[in-house]
């Protein structure tokens, strides 16, 4: 193959992927533009399209038809997904209009879990071909789309690629035409610019939301089907495209169709040019760059032009963002009682090891409870910025994961290895650096804090949705870099049996996994402890409880008051003379450091073998910690910690009883986001008010519940 034909080949490949991205991003962008909904479930709708196509193609009846089942599925599957999308909008998203876009992120994140589970479920008789477990299936293509087609000059390309490009172009052009030449298209475009004004003209734009959501879903489905013809159908296919699709939408400008087209083709081309070696291989270290370049591009664009390439800054000025609903001030319990309960809880946790090996296994104490406490710390770190400064960080896994990696890297001696042959090496050796758990954690905290400073410095200048996206980009950037980095274990992750010691200067009391406080204890005839009680359990308990006290101290100090003022109204805090950006950055650094501490504890305490992998950096984890924070009630510090405990506990329980635990967890989030947005800590007050309502109002379920009710109409209230 000559260099020229290789380039053409690459170009075709890039355009094929690019046009798929265009369809995906266009749907996402239109949905965001009109309704301000960031749809994380878009990737799952994409996958669902492919699965529906597979199901349609498998129907026996279609075999006698004169044309191939693929054509029918290309028509029917998007319709089916459109129905699903419309249903999602009606049932779950509609109750949330007017709330902060964060709640849509959360809601659709819950939906991702549900869809993933539904897709991966292997159930139902074989004639129902939707559910095929985790295996990859290929879509059978009509003969006319197979083989190669000659383009002349000795160049041949896969017929299917030409088909994908042609079909994608037709659909994209059709969408563009409809947006520009139909009544609905005009209303959709106007709505993306100023929803409130559309209403003032007497047009009930809410009626179009379902339609828009269904249409965007159908576009995703088409993208899924055409890509499945090339790559097959597999459960993770939604996962693999959703982040690039977000990058494209943000790059091009949220709500801009043109941006989706340019961004989609651009990202598709860049990705292929860098992943397949022949073209640029000699000049660019493409392997290392391929995963990260798109994210770097996105970060640069966002910093230079926060509204994206084609986004119009004026369009974003609608100021319709609803407030974040904190759990604070909602409690029925006074502070004294909360304090007592807190102390009680810590005391209870301290006593739990009594009973190990008698009432429950060591697993419960050393793994489950430890994980719960670590997640509680992680959620606490997020609440510090989310609940108090109003910063929606979608990239908190970055700090958590970096902390975890640091612990393992220190234990492996790799961190000390970096300084070999420098004067620092001697110092590290005297310190007993590679053996000390304290130094390892301190390093993790330090690295996370530095990273948080960098990320915060670069991203806190942009607000709201853009901040969420840019933090997501940073986290994905690091994850993709780690995937390529041999030193960090690339796709396999790292593991070592060489654990850290409780100690410093080479002196210590033993390895973290080994130090046992009591092995067996009988008081009188009663066996109280029947297994090993590890010091590590108390080490985590003290660290987490101490971190909470520290965080609370900071929030009660003037620093915390300023942060809360910023969350309530950044404008007013500015008028009072506070450098709000500086405050937010500082909070972000503290938060990153705490997340790094939580991450650092994870590998060293939960097993004999220390291990960490790229999944500890996956964006899903960022979503999970946000969910835990909301579940508990953000803006309270203790709420998110309870939420995290519940989250880990619920997962544990559900895994034990059902294979569909993800779906159940997902539905639980959806329920919480819609009905209890202020979290668990608001439940007592919520119930209280409901009971009052029932007594006074004749028992009828008249209004929405007290939590979300004030926001239900906010979309209209603040429409200019």
């Amino acid at each position: 193959m000559s260099a020229f034909t290789a380039v053409i080949d690459q170009l075709i490949n890039g355009l094929t992927i690019g046009i798929v991205y265009v369809l995906l991003a266009a749907g996402l962008s239109i949905i965001f533009g009109v309704m301000d909904v960031i749809n994380f479930a878009h990737g799952e709708l994409f996958a669902l399209g492919a699965y529906f196509a597979l199901a349609v193609a498998g129907v026996q009846l279609l075999e006698g038809l004169p044309f191939h089942a693929f054509w029918i599925s290309l028509l029917l599957a998007p319709l089916a997904v459109a129905v699903v999308g419309g249903g999602i909008e009606r049932l779950t998203i509609r109750p949330l209009y007017g709330r902060n876009p964060l709640y849509h992120i959360l809601l659709t994140f819950g939906l991702v879990l549900v869809f993933k589970d539904v897709i991966e479920t292997r159930c139902c008789p074989p004639y129902f071909l939707l559910f095929r477990g985790t295996s990859r299936s290929s879509v059978s293509l009509p003969p006319m789309l197979e083989g190669q087609v000659a383009l002349g000059a000795g160049i041949t390309v896969a017929t299917y690629s030409v088909f994908v490009i042609a079909a994608g172009t037709v659909v994209a052009l059709g969408t563009w035409w409809a947006l520009n030449n139909t009544k609905v298209g005009l209303i959709v475009r106007a709505g993306a610019q100023d929803r409130g004004m559309v209403r003032h003209l007497g047009i009930d734009i809410d009626r179009y939301y379902t339609l828009v959501f269904a249409f965007g879903s159908a576009l995703a489905a088409v993208a899924g089907i055409v890509l499945a013809g090339r790559q097959g159908v597999f459960p993770a296919m939604g996962d693999s495209v959703i982040i690039p699709a977000f990058v494209i939408v943000v790059l091009g400008g949220l709500g801009s169709f043109r941006g989706a087209v340019v961004g989609g083709l651009g990202v598709g081309l860049i990705q292929t040019m860098l992943t397949s070696p022949p073209v640029l291989g000699e000049y660019v270290p493409s392997e290392e760059l391929s995963g990260v370049v798109v994210f770097i591009l996105m970060i640069i664009v966002l910093l230079a032009r926060p509204q994206g390439l084609f986004g119009n800054p004026e369009w974003q000025s609608s100021g319709e963002e609803g407030e974040l609903l904190t759990g604070s001030g909602e409690g029925v319990l006074g502070p004294t009682w909360r304090k007592r309960l807190g102390i009680g809880l810590v005391a209870l946790l301290a006593l739990v090891p009594l009973g190990v090996g008698v009432r429950y296994s060591t697993y419960v104490v050393d793994s489950l409870l430890v994980t719960m406490m670590i997640w509680a710390l992680f959620a606490l770190s997020l609440d510090f910025v989310l609940g108090y400064a109003g910063l929606v960080s979608l990239g908190h896994v970055l700090f958590f994961g970096v902390g975890a990696y640091t612990s393992v890297l220190v234990a492996q001696g790799k961190v000390a290895g970096l300084f070999a042959d420098t004067p620092v090496a001697a110092l590290l050796s005297v310190l007993g650096y590679s053996d000390s758990v304290f130094l390892a954690l301190a390093t993790g905290v330090g690295v996370a804090a530095v990273l948080a400073w960098v990320v915060g410095y670069l991203s806190i200048r942009v607000a709201g949705v853009y901040f969420a996206m840019i933090t997501l980009a940073f986290a994905e950037l690091v994850r993709n870099a780690v995937l390529k980095l041999q030193w960090a274990g690339s796709t396999d992750g790292l593991s070592t049996a060489d654990n850290l010691d409780y100690g410093i200067f080479g002196q210590g009391i033993g390895e973290v996994g080994d130090v046992v406080l009591v092995e067996e204890l009988t008081i009188g005839p009663v066996l109280v402890i029947g297994g090993e009680v590890h010091l590590s359990y108390y080490f985590v308990l003290v660290t987490v409880a101490g971190s909470y006290l520290l965080a609370r101290r900071m929030m009660n100090a003037p620093f915390g008051s300023v942060l809360q003022a910023i969350r309530e109204s950044e404008q007013r805090a500015k008028f009072l003379g506070y450098d709000t950006t500086a405050y937010k950055r500082r909070a972000f650094v503290v938060s990153g450091a705490l997340a790094g501490l939580a991450g650092g504890l994870l590998p060293i305490t939960t097993g004999i073998v220390l291990s960490v992998g790229p999944s500890d950096l996956h964006w899903i984890v960022s979503g999970e910690v946000i969910v835990a924070t909301i579940l508990g009630g953000m803006g309270t510090l203790y709420g998110p910690m309870l939420g995290a405990g519940l989250f880990v506990g619920a997962e544990e329980l559900l895994v034990e009883y059902t294979d569909q635990w993800q779906a159940i967890l997902g539905l639980l989030f959806v329920f919480f986001v819609i009905f209890v947005p202020r979290g668990l800590v608001s439940l007592p007050a919520l119930l209280d008010r409901h009971l009052d309502l029932d007594l006074g109002g004749g028992g009828g379920e008249t209004g929405a519940d007290p939590g979300p009710a004030p926001e239900a109409d906010a979309d209209r209230e603040v429409d200019d």
């Binding site: 409130g196 007497g202 047009i203 369009w315 429409d719």
Partner: protein, 263 residues
């Protein structure tokens, strides 16, 4: 809806109390009584009462932040009224949202114009055509393109590329295409050059001559006095003065005390 209601707020702030409603006879297209509304814990309107007679230009003047725009928001249903009544042609429109009030024929030309910046002039007008009122008098897109200054030349320009005056003309034209029996104008001359202010005034007069009632909300007292038949002065959430425009012009105390205009 008796005439006295319009006068009673004058007692509120211990104003001069010289409101004059004796010549306020005729059908009321809009009457607002004891309206209270606000945002969150703040109550901006603390019992506002005024009315607009069919076919007149009424002006609601007041300084920054006294509740002028909030009044329009409450009328159009963009924010809920907490108490009081709002009647349009005698029918209560309390609790109706902005879609419903627009359909009744209450046209809004909002603060800062709020034309769709990414749509062309023609598309902005077609948005008016797609929505709006079925009962009110409506103008055709082509008709307003002809009659409104140079909108015709600009028909394919994006809204964002128009000058402030052109945007204002477009916002008014859009409301007329949507159809309005009562036009609510929120600071239509804000930020415009004097010459442009005059042409906007001319357009408002023309619109009124066709029989469309106008409620003009203004900070600029001169413009209000130029255009209005009757003027209401709003201060700190209450109407503190109500009278014919000619009389307010001579009332130095009201001008000075509530509007900060020295004479």
């Amino acid at each position: 809806m008796s005439g006295e209601d319009a006068a009673d707020p004058a007692q509120g702030e211990g104003g001069p109390g010289d409101s004059d409603t004796s010549d306020r006879s005729g059908d009321r297209i809009l009457s607002v009584e004891e309206l209270r509304a606000g945002y969150g814990e703040t109550e901006v309107l603390r019992g506002v009462s005024f009315d607009v007679l069919d076919g007149e230009v009424a002006a609601l003047v007041g300084r920054n932040g006294v509740g002028k725009t909030t009044t329009l928001r409450a009328i159009t249903g963009a924010i809920p009224a907490r108490s009081g009544s709002i009647r349009f042609r005698g029918e209560s429109i309390i609790g109706e949202d902005s879609v419903a009030t627009a359909k009744r024929g209450i046209g809004l030309v909002p603060e800062e114009r709020r034309i769709f910046p990414g749509l062309t002039v023609e598309e902005n007008l077609r948005m008016g055509q797609l929505g709006g009122s079925e009962t009110a008098h409506r103008r055709e897109v082509e008709e307003v393109l002809e009659t409104f200054g140079n909108l015709r030349e600009r028909r394919n320009n994006r809204g964002a590329n128009l000058s402030g005056g052109e945007q204002q003309m477009l916002a008014i034209a859009r409301a007329l295409v949507a159809g309005a029996d009562l036009l609510l104008l929120d600071e239509p001359t804000e930020g415009l050059a004097p010459l442009i202010v005059e042409s906007v005034e001319d357009v408002i007069r023309e619109v009124n001559d066709e029989g469309i009632s106008v409620l003009l909300v203004e900070q600029n007292v001169a413009v209000a006095l130029d255009l209005a038949d009757h003027v209401f002065v709003l201060d700190r959430g209450r109407i503190v003065y109500s009278g014919p425009a000619e009389r307010l012009e001579e009332d130095g105390e009201v001008l000075d005390r509530h509007l900060g205009v020295s004479v």
